[in-house]
Symmetry: C2
Subunit: 198 residues, 2 copies
């Protein structure tokens, strides 16, 4: 089965849209999704940015919120502008990293995006993430949370973020098919077209 890597960051609005759609879209093409959590913060800092580009450039930020609302309506993805942006997705990313390859992980990721961008909840709050684990059908949320705080998982997430940089990833969502990189939810169809042809 052909694969598409889906690189996502929990603070990213456009990653919310992609996360809700990627698995269903890929399934219609018989393509498997490989979920790749990473952190944009270190990558933005490398670029000399101290905050989300959408906060640093207010005009671009205002546009993004309007565009995301329009795209969510068009694509039938629930969305409500959160009271805080960006939210700290570090613990959610660690939990996803701990869950790589596990059945519950994609549903957990979608649930965290819904918590942030539909329910306006603080996704750095352990209780919010524990609830998302339960709803995703994770077998032992307490154990997963403990694992997410371990040195091994922290190291693995740092490694993933380094890997993202080495792959030339500079924003989220990004998709990777073979050696081809695609940036932005707008490129999901092109990435799937390529995966299908392989």
């Amino acid at each position: 089965m052909s694969q598409i890597e889906f690189w996502f960051e929990f603070a990213s609005t456009y990653s919310h849209i992609a996360a809700q759609l990627v698995e269903a879209e890929a399934a219609t093409r018989q393509v498997e999704v490989v979920w790749r959590p990473f952190l944009l913060g270190p990558i933005f800092r490398e670029q000399g940015l101290s905050d989300s580009p959408f906060n640093l450039n207010r005009v671009k930020g205002d546009y993004m919120w309007r565009d995301v609302a329009r795209e969510c309506e068009r694509l039938d993805v629930p969305f409500r502008r959160p009271g805080q942006f960006p939210r700290n997705g570090l613990l959610a990313a660690r939990i996803s990293t701990a869950g790589e390859g596990q059945d519950w992980m994609p549903a957990f990721v979608r649930g965290v995006y819904r918590a942030n961008f539909v329910e306006d909840l603080d996704i750095s709050n352990v209780a919010v993430l524990e609830q998302a684990l339960i709803e995703a059908g994770a077998p032992d949320p307490g154990m997963i949370l403990e694992d997410a705080g371990s040195d091994g998982v922290k190291r693995k997430l740092r490694h993933r973020t380094d890997e993202a940089m080495q792959l030339g990833i500079f924003g989220a969502p990004s998709f990777r098919v073979g050696k081809e990189l695609f940036w932005g939810g707008d490129r999901l169809q092109q990435a799937l077209d390529l995966a299908e042809r392989r």
Copy 2:
């Protein structure tokens, strides 16, 4: 007839793709294209940028060149990476401004983009632009070039660029339908969908 405003900057690679496609795409929807030349330089300077964001961020720039080549192949738009980027499109923008509403203007714009992004020609060179005017069927290229250098046209282009800023335009290509703004060639279909519904 419903209208779409197409805001373009001659240095912009993604504007090349949009310029080659917008009129044919709009025609299939019975939508009229209003061509709006403007300058990104003053807008980038307002954002604190001294060069194209694709030059300031090399990783993003490398990605853009790959993505533009892929998109041009997919959309059947000729493309060759130019030896210089960005090229100075000031005179081309002034000529387009002098030609607003004229039959030859869209063909001239497409010709200048081809000169820059297919033939790798210097679009700040008067001879290159005169040739583009001739090929676009402009009635009196010498007169148009004189007009393009007049205070009236210079003022009109400055006014357009101010208008772009007031409309919240921060990049190119941008599309405007009624009060809705769309940024990026990826949003052409959404903009046309809206124009069609009006």
